[in-house]
C-alpha cells in the first residue's frame, strides 16, 4: 500500500504507470504477517491427492460468452484497472481479480483449490510446463484469439509452450544492470559488464541482486563465460554460489527486487535488475529535481542476454472459459495493450509496441532504448528453463546458503 501511495504521489503520468509487480515482495511480507507462516502450509494440504492429468481438449468454436463473473489471478497492480473496466463494459460482465504474491503461491493455491479462477494472468515461463503437465491449464482455441497475430512473432512458438497451445504472452523483459549514470561512468559499465557488480566496492550497501536464485546465479555464470544457464552441474552451481557470496563482503550486497524505485531514489547505485524496472523507474519513481538522465541500463550482448516473459492462460476448471478466451484476446489488441502498458510499465509482447513506437510516444526515454529487447535479442535470448524437482532444488538450496550469509 505504502509503495503505491508514494508512487502515485510522484507519478508524472498522473494515475497511470503503476508498475508495482515488484511490490509483491512487500505484499508477501504483509500476507505473512496476516496469516502466519503456517497458513500457506495448511492451504497447500487440501486436494493434493487429486491427481490431475494434462487437459487435452479446448473449448468448441463459436460459443457465446458466459455471464461471468470473470475470475482472474494476477500480481497486484500488474494490469491497468481502466482496461479491466473497458472489458467489463464491452461484455457486460464483472471481473474479479485475486492477487498473488509469487508464482509458486499461484501454483500452490490453484493446485489445492484454494483459489478458483478462469484466467491466470501472469504465468512464469518456468512454470507453464508444470501447469500443463499438472493439468491446471487448458489448451486454447485460437479461433477466439483473433488478435494473436499482433504478438511479436518470436512468441508464436515459444520454447515453454510449443505452438503457443496453452498460453499467450503477456509482458517481456531482459536481465541486466541498472545503475546511476551520475555515479558510475556508462563507458565503464560497458567495458566491465557483469564485473561492474563485483567491482562496485565504492558503493557498499548500495548494490543489489535479484531475489531469484536462477537469475542471480545465472549472472555469476555468465560473468565467467558459462552460457549453459540451465546446467545442473553441481560444480558450476557451487562456483556460482561462491561468486555471488563474495558480494556479501565485497559490496555488502542486498537481495531484493526493488531496484525500480531504489535506483531512481538513489539508495541503490548498481543493481542486477530487469529492463522494465528502469522504464518504470523513469516514469514514476524519480524524486523531484532528478531527471531520468541519471538512470542507465546495461545488458549482455545478444546470445548471452536472458529474456523472460509472463504469459496468460485459461485454467482447466474455468467456469467462464469463453469469456476467458475473450479476455486474452482483448489484452492482445494493440490499443488495449498500449493502454495497459501506459499504466503497468512492463512491455507487452505486441509487435506494434516496439522501441521506436514506445520512445516516440514518450513512454520510454531515448537513452533507455536498450531496455526494450529487440527482435534479434529476443530471437537469440537465453531462457531460464525449469529443471525438474531435483534441478530446481539444487539451485534453491544453494540460494538458501547464500542468503544465510554465504
Amino acid at each position: 500500500m505504502f509503495a503505491i501511495l508514494t508512487h502515485q504521489s510522484i507519478n508524472p503520468w498522473g494515475n497511470h504507470m503503476s508498475s508495482s509487480r515488484r511490490d509483491f515482495f512487500a505484499r508477501s511480507v504483509q500476507l505473512g504477517v496476516l496469516l502466519g507462516a503456517g497458513v500457506p502450509l495448511l492451504q497447500a494440504c487440501g486436494g493434493s491427492d487429486d491427481k490431475r492429468s494434462k487437459v487435452a481438449k479446448s473449448i468448441a468454436d463459436g460459443l457465446p460468452p458466459e455471464k461471468g463473473p470473470l475470475r482472474i489471478i494476477n500480481y497486484a497492480d500488474y494490469v491497468n484497472l481502466e482496461v479491466i473496466a473497458d472489458f467489463e463494459s464491452k461484455y457486460g460482465v464483472k471481473v474479479e481479480i485475486t492477487t498473488i504474491d509469487t508464482d509458486t503461491e499461484a501454483t500452490t493455491k490453484l493446485a489445492s483449490g484454494a483459489i478458483k479462477a478462469d484466467v491466470h494472468h501472469s504465468m512464469a515461463s518456468t512454470s507453464i510446463g508444470n501447469l500443463i503437465a499438472g493439468g491446471l491449464v487448458q489448451p486454447l482455441n485460437k479461433s477466439y484469439l483473433t488478435n494473436f497475430p499482433n504478438v511479436i512473432s518470436t512468441f508464436n512458438d515459444p520454447w515453454y509452450d510449443p505452438g503457443a497451445t496453452y498460453s499467450v504472452p503477456y509482458t517481456f523483459f531482459g536481465t541486466g544492470i541498472g545503475y546511476r549514470t551520475d555515479r558510475i561512468d556508462p563507458a565503464l559499465v560497458e567495458a566491465q559488464g557483469w564485473d561492474t557488480i563485483w567491482n562496485a566496492t565504492d558503493f557498499k550497501g548500495q548494490v543489489s541482486v535479484l531475489d531469484d536464485e536462477r537469475e542471480a546465479f545465472t549472472m555469476a555464470m555468465l560473468r565467467k563465460g558459462v552460457t549453459d544457464i540451465n546446467t545442473t552441474d553441481q560444480k558450476i552451481i557451487d562456483q556460482a554460489l561462491a561468486d555471488v557470496s563474495e558480494l556479501i563482503d565485497l559490496v555488502n550486497v542486498k537481495v531484493n527486487i526493488e531496484a525500480y524505485k531504489d535506483i531512481p531514489e538513489g539508495t541503490t547505485s548498481v543493481a542486477q535488475t530487469w529492463s522494465a524496472d528502469l522504464i518504470a523507474g523513469a516514469a514514476g519513481y524519480l524524486p523531484e529535481g532528478v531527471t531520468d538522465e541519471v538512470l542507465g541500463f546495461w545488458h549482455p550482448p545478444a546470445g548471452s542476454y536472458v529474456v523472460t516473459n509472463d504469459s496468460m492462460g485459461v485454467l482447466s476448471d474455468a467456469q467462464s472459459p469463453v469469456l476467458a478466451h475473450l479476455y486474452l484476446n482483448f489484452l492482445l489488441d494493440n490499443e488495449v495493450a498500449e493502454k495497459n502498458f501506459s499504466w503497468v510499465g512492463y512491455l507487452p509482447a505486441i509487435a506494434k509496441l516496439d522501441a521506436d513506437y514506445v520512445i516516440g510516444a514518450g513512454y520510454v526515454p531515448e537513452h533507455l532504448r536498450n531496455c526494450v529487447p529487440t527482435n534479434d535479442e529476443i530471437a537469440q535470448a537465453l531462457y531460464l528453463k525449469p529443471l525438474g524437482a531435483t534441478g530446481d532444488a539444487q539451485y534453491e538450496t544453494a540460494w538458501a546458503k547464500f542468503t544465510a550469509g554465504g
Binding site: T104, V253, A393, A400, A404, G405
Partner: protein
C-alpha cells in the same frame, strides 16, 4: 439438603468446566491440528510438477530424511550461523527491551501518580498501528536522507550513514522497537501489584532506595520480567519482516524466519521449511518449559 449439596456442587463445576470448551476447541483446531499439519508436510512428499506438498497424515508413512538433513545443517551446516545470529539478535533485542522497558514500566506502575492513565494509554497506542506500518515508517526514518540522519546532523554527528544497508544493529533496534510495548505491559501489571508495604518495610529497616529496589522490588518483579521476556522473544524468534524491511534483504542479517519464509513460499521444498518450523518450535519449547518450571517453583516458594 445435605445430600443435595455435592450434586449441586458437581453441577456447577461442570458449568465452569464448560467455559473451557471454546478455548480447548480453539487450541485443538488452531494449534494441535496446525502443528500436526506442519509435521505431515515436514515428513511428507512433494508433487513433482506442481511442487505442492503432499502431506503424510499417517505417522507410519513419515519420511524423516529431510528432517535429519535439516538438523545436520542446523547443527553443522549453513543453517547454523542463521540460528546463532537469530539467538544473538533476539537476545540483544531482549536486553534492549529490559533496559528501556523496565524503567518505563516501573515509572508507570509506581511513580506516575495521576498521569498513570495517560501513560498507559500512550503505551497501548502503538498497538493501534499495524506492526508492518511501523516498520515501514522506520525505513523512511532510517534512509540516508531520513530523519535520523537529519537529527544526527543537528548535533554535528556523522549524518551520512545508510542505516538500511544490512547492519545487525538496525535489525536489533527494529525488533526492540517493535516488541517493547509487549514487554512493558505484563511487567507493568506485576510491578503495580507489588505490595507497597513491603517496599516501605525495606526503607524502614534502613535500606537505601537503591538497596530496596535491588532486594525487594526487583526480586518481586521477576515473574513479570519472565512473562514479559517470554511474550517478547517468542514472536521475535519467528520474525522475518522486520529484517526484510530494515535491511532490504541483506544476507548478513538473515534470520531463521527468513529461511522458513523462503522455503515455504518460493521453493519446491516445503518439507525443509516445515522441518525448520518444527526445529524452531522445539527450541522455543525448551525455553517455555524453563519458564514454566521457574514460575511453578516461585509459586510454590511463595505459598510456603
Amino acid at each position: 439438603m445435605t445430600a443435595a449439596l455435592p450434586s449441586r456442587r458437581g453441577g456447577s463445576s461442570r458449568i465452569w468446566a464448560a467455559f473451557a470448551v471454546p478455548g480447548i476447541g480453539w487450541l485443538v483446531a488452531f494449534f494441535v491440528v496446525s502443528v500436526y499439519a506442519v509435521m505431515a508436510v515436514a515428513f511428507g512428499d512433494v508433487d513433482p510438477f506442481l511442487k505442492t506438498p503432499i502431506p503424510a497424515w499417517n505417522p507410519l508413512e513419515w519420511d524423516v530424511t529431510t528432517m535429519s538433513n535439516v538438523l545436520g545443517e542446523v547443527f553443522n551446516g549453513y543453517l547454523r550461523p542463521v540460528f546463532v545470529r537469530t539467538f544473538w539478535f533476539v537476545g540483544l533485542a531482549l536486553l534492549g527491551c529490559i533496559l528501556v522497558g523496565y524503567p518505563v514500566a516501573y515509572f508507570a506502575a509506581r511513580k506516575a501518580g495521576r498521569s498513570k492513565g495517560l501513560l498507559l494509554a500512550a503505551l497501548v497506542l502503538p498497538f493501534w498501528i499495524s506492526y508492518l506500518m511501523r516498520m515501514l515508517a522506520w525505513t523512511n526514518l532510517l534512509q540516508p536522507d531520513g530523519f535520523v540522519n537529519q537529527v544526527l546532523g543537528w548535533f554535528s554527528l556523522p549524518d551520512n550513514r545508510n542505516w538500511l544497508d544490512g547492519d545487525w544493529y538496525t535489525v536489533v533496534i527494529g525488533l526492540m522497537y517493535g516488541y517493547v510495548p509487549f514487554f512493558i505491559l505484563p511487567l507493568y501489571s506485576t510491578l503495580e501489584r507489588i505490595d507497597g508495604r513491603l517496599i516501605e518495610a525495606g526503607r524502614d529497616l534502613g535500606a537505601s532506595s537503591m538497596q530496596t529496589f535491588i532486594r525487594v522490588t526487583l526480586p518481586l518483579s521477576v515473574p513479570g520480567l519472565m512473562a514479559a521476556s517470554v511474550i517478547t522473544i517468542l514472536p521475535m524468534f519467528g520474525d522475518y519482516y522486520t529484517n526484510t524491511y530494515l535491511t532490504s534483504g541483506s544476507p548478513r542479517t538473515e534470520m531463521v524466519g527468513n529461511q522458513i519464509e523462503n522455503y515455504l513460499r518460493n521453493t519446491g521444498q516445503p518439507q525443509t521449511g516445515a522441518s525448520l518450523v518444527l526445529i524452531l518450535m522445539a527450541m522455543l519449547f525448551v525455553l517455555m518449559v524453563y519458564y514454566m518450571v521457574t514460575t511453578i517453583r516461585q509459586q510454590r516458594a511463595a505459598e510456603r
